[in-house]
């Protein structure tokens, strides 16, 4: 009873009081200004011109990676792409037939990535693709006699398999050739495999583990196929006693192996599709000097534990001089440059991918500023998270480090939504092409030119300062 009284009374009083006094925003505004409290944060912009790149280094991870979805095979943009297929099967009748056969043959059928070649965004004038390929075929072959043998191969994790592929030592190899002609509507490429492979398989009694590697180091371009985990998985077929007597096998996984054939060690070259990255480092001196002049305060901040929270970076943008002439692109579309920064997180430095805020006015008139292979002579990249962290922790003498890499081809460079979407009419609008352009872009001259940093800053400094 007492409790009910208490709660009731208090609720009543609260209700009553809310009726008596009501706050008015203009009065509140007056009160805030009397206290010196802000009702908004002041935004200021600062341009730091002529920043020099302290160091720029590219990193290409050549660890074999999955080709289970899409497979790339060939030689393009100074990169060589090999394919490795992993097969394991048990069939004693098949091996018995194979042993008896004098006319055994093997082939591998690869399904073209038709949505790519038949896309209206693929330059149709480059089709049909015609080339005589010299194919280097190499393989590793293990025999077994039990089902457990085949099962044990399935137990090898993908990562262990990729690691094993880096030191590829073939049990056998042979060369073959193929005259390729690829039109938009073609569905598959059938490559006859060398007889040496078939012969080496004849020694197997019951079960086998075959790892097959295909390489075309002299190819003029790279070709795209469906991977092992798609509905159009490659098929490995071995004919035994007659044309109607054959066995078809599907790889249970595939890997793509990339070799870097760039020769210039001082150049900063990025490639599309392979996730290589360019890490660019700037010295802190020029940026801190510019801030010192701008605010009239000491930079870096060394009071307390030296973390600077006197201002915050709302947005930061680096503008580089751009020259596309040294680059190569397969599709002829602009390619977005994806940016990351190195920032502190829980006492460790992590790479954080940067957000991209769209400047609608600019995009509507000239398009996104963060693309290469596009009109114009500059590349503007937003590095807000990075600069935030850098200014916050500049007292420890750190430099500013950012990372860039080539992203997807841009189909609608002047669409300010910057994402694929469905428009009012119900049509799908693709701002990005869903296939990488295995392009090559040379950033060497860009890294030698002065860079401009533009900062949008929110300050805590009051009016009197």
């Amino acid at each position: 009873m007492k409790k009910r009284h208490f709660v009731l009374l208090s609720c009543l009083a609260v209700l009553l009081s809310s009726c008596i006094f009501d706050t008015d925003d203009s009065t509140l505004s007056r009160w805030l200004s009397d206290q010196g409290l802000p009702d908004s944060y002041k935004v200021q912009t600062l341009s730091v011109e002529n920043l020099n790149v302290l160091s720029a280094e590219t990193f290409l991870d050549t660890t074999p990676r999955s080709a289970n979805d899409r497979a790339i095979w060939g030689h393009q943009a100074n990169l060589l792409h090999d394919l490795v297929f992993d097969f394991a099967f048990i069939d004693s009748a098949f091996f018995a037939d194979l042993k008896k056969s004098d006319s055994a043959r093997a082939l591998i059928a690869l399904y073209n990535l038709r949505p790519f070649y038949s896309s209206k965004n693929y330059p149709s004038d480059s089709l049909p693709l015609k080339e005589d390929l010299d194919i280097k075929v190499s393989w590793k072959l293990d025999a077994g006699s039990k089902k457990a043998f085949v099962d044990s191969i399935g137990d090898i994790t993908d990562s262990a398999w990729y690691a094993d592929l880096t030191g590829w030592e073939a049990d056998g190899s042979a060369d073959t050739s193929y005259s390729l002609s690829l039109k938009a509507k073609d569905t598959l490429v059938k490559l006859d495999l060398p007889n040496a492979l078939v012969e080496s398989m004849k020694d197997i009694k019951k079960a086998c583990h075959l790892q097959l590697r295909l390489s075309i180091p002299e190819a003029a371009r790279a070709y795209r196929f469906y991977g092992a985990e798609t509905d159009y998985s490659p098929i490995f077929q071995v004919r035994t006693l007659s044309d109607t007597n054959f066995k078809s096998m599907y790889p249970f996984r595939m890997a793509g192996l990339v070799s870097n054939e760039e020769t210039c060690s001082d150049c900063q070259v990025l490639h599309g599709g392979v996730m290589d990255s360019l890490v660019v480092e700037f010295s802190s001196k020029e940026v801190l000097a510019a801030l010192e002049e701008f605010y009239g305060d000491d930079f870096p901040y060394v009071i307390g534990d030296s973390n600077d929270v006197r201002q915050a970076v709302v947005l930061a943008q680096m503008t580089f001089a751009r020259d596309d002439s040294e680059g190569f692109s397969e599709l002829g579309k602009p390619i977005q440059v994806v940016v990351g920064s190195f920032v502190d997180s829980a006492d460790a430095v992590v790479r954080k991918m940067e957000a991209y805020d769209v400047n609608r006015k600019l995009v509507d008139s000239v398009g996104h500023p963060n693309m290469v292979f596009y009109d114009g002579d500059s590349l503007s990249l937003q590095v807000t998270y990075g600069l935030r962290d850098f200014l916050n922790k500049a007292s420890d003498g750190r430099t500013f480090k950012m990372m860039m890499r080539l992203g997807y081809p841009v189909l609608a460079p002047m669409d300010s939504l910057y994402t694929n979407y469905i428009n009012d009419k119900g049509d799908s609008i693709y701002v990005f092409f869903s296939h990488f352009d295995y392009a090559r872009y040379d950033f060497t001259s860009m890294m030698k030119s002065p860079v401009t940093l533009k900062l949008w800053l929110a300050t805590k400094r009051g009016d009197e300062e």
């Binding site: 006094f21 009501d22 009702d39 908004s40 912009t45 915050a312 947005l315 009051g462």
Partner: protein, 413 residues
């Protein structure tokens, strides 16, 4: 416990206390905001009696108690701030203190209080469609004290008692300003970058006592047939507010905070009071509390155009009150069993040039025969200000107190 929880819940719904000294320590809860004391204008530190319980200014008083007293206080305050002919209304709900005293006969009395000594509470959302400004500000700082006390009557001079209490300080503070951009200094071509970017200037910290586990109050009480007196001394101490200044772009996207400590030197407090009893149940009482600040209070500040310090002045509380005790006989008429109180006070704040005048009416309603009393106090007053930025405040408060008086540990006579 459920009672306390439900009250806390109500208290959490809305909160905005006095807006004076928000950046310094906030509003002081005079004498722990005990409803019975507030009803007589915060006077009566020297008044002894079973229904009095603990006094924060006079820990010696409880030595004369014979019964266990539990006491919980609750305050609803409404306030109108005024300046330049503009009014700003706000309200606050709080639980300023909670006390328990436990007499042990000739072994003295033990007690413990939980007291919210200072609070900066302010929560407002602000919108201005013309300036396209949308801001949210919050101050939430509380200095809490846990105060264990002990008092005992002297062996020979039985009408004199000595008491001491230790004040263990804790609490936390938050100031959060969520602000939108002001692009007035940015060219039109550059305004796109901050269009939607809201930033929260976030300061959070904790309160503790510097270098000591607690600070102490010592008191001496004389209880006479007609007149009772007390005198108390509270040690000077330094409050330490460990603060982390930060910018938040979202809850999970923040900068590394800048750590900063502010120290607030609180001077010694002297308090004295007298209670005159006449015609058995009528009491007139006067109290005086004084504290001379010699250092200014460092503000939570952190730039903008906020002041770095709050200037301090002499901090004085002078109060006068009257109380007619209710009859303790259950068979007396109910109106005669009610305790009636009236009082007035003058308080000079620790903030320079802030003077508070207030008056109050109070009553204690006995419930049943077991010794439960619901105290009620209605108070009102005005805080006069003579500086550039604080606003004058007119306040009305309702206080409710629950007092339980028990006979624990005593044998039936």
């Amino acid at each position: 416990m459920k009672k306390i929880l439900s009250l806390l819940l109500v208290a959490a719904v809305c909160a905005s206390a006095s807006m004076i000294g928000l950046d310094a320590l906030g509003e002081e809860q005079t004498l722990g905001g005990m409803t019975s004391t507030a009803g007589r204008g915060f006077a009566g530190g020297a008044k002894t009696g079973d229904a009095e319980g603990l006094s924060l200014s006079n820990p010696a008083r409880a030595a004369f108690d014979t019964k266990v007293v539990f006491n919980l206080n609750f305050l609803i305050e409404m306030m109108a701030a005024e300046r330049h002919g503009q009014y700003f209304g706000t309200r606050n709900v709080s639980l300023p203190s909670f006390n328990l005293s436990f007499p042990m006969g000739s072994f003295g009395t033990m007690g413990v209080s939980l007291w919210q000594s200072y609070a900066s509470v302010f929560r407002e959302e602000f919108q201005d469609s013309i300036k396209a400004v949308n801001a949210k500000m919050e101050y939430q700082s509380s200095v809490y004290e846990i105060v264990p006390s002990y008092s005992v009557r002297l062996p020979v001079i039985r009408n004199v008692s000595l008491g001491a209490s230790a004040h263990i300080v804790m609490g936390n503070s938050i100031r959060s300003l969520t602000l939108g951009p002001d692009n007035s200094e940015v060219s039109d071509d550059d305004a796109w970058a901050t269009n939607k970017a809201k930033i929260t200037d976030y300061v959070s910290g904790t309160w503790e006592l510097k270098n000591h586990p607690a600070y102490y109050t010592f008191a001496l009480q004389y209880r006479g047939r007609m007149a009772s007196y007390f005198f108390s001394y509270t040690m000077p101490h330094t409050l330490l507010n460990d603060l982390n200044y930060n910018f938040r772009f979202s809850e999970i996207d923040t900068l590394e905070p800048n750590r900063h400590e502010r120290e607030i030197k609180i001077p010694a407090t002297l308090a004295t009071g007298i209670n005159l009893r006449f015609k058995k149940r009528n009491n007139v009482m006067m109290d005086l509390q004084w504290r001379a600040w010699d250092e200014d209070v460092k503000n939570i500040g952190g730039s903008y155009s906020l002041d770095d310090i709050t200037e301090t002045g002499d901090d004085i509380l002078a109060s006068i009150g009257f109380q007619r005790d209710g009859s303790s006989l259950y068979y007396d008429p109910y109106w005669d069993r009610i305790t009636y109180r009236v009082g007035a006070w003058f308080k000079q704040w620790y903030v320079k040039n802030v003077d508070e005048f207030g008056g109050s009416l109070g009553a204690g309603f006995p419930l049943g025969r077991k010794g439960t009393i619901i105290d009620f106090a209605l108070q009102g007053g005005k805080r006069f200000v003579d500086d550039d930025h604080n606003w004058e405040e007119t306040f009305v408060g309702i206080r409710l107190g629950l007092m339980g008086i028990g006979n624990w540990g005593q044998s039936r006579r």
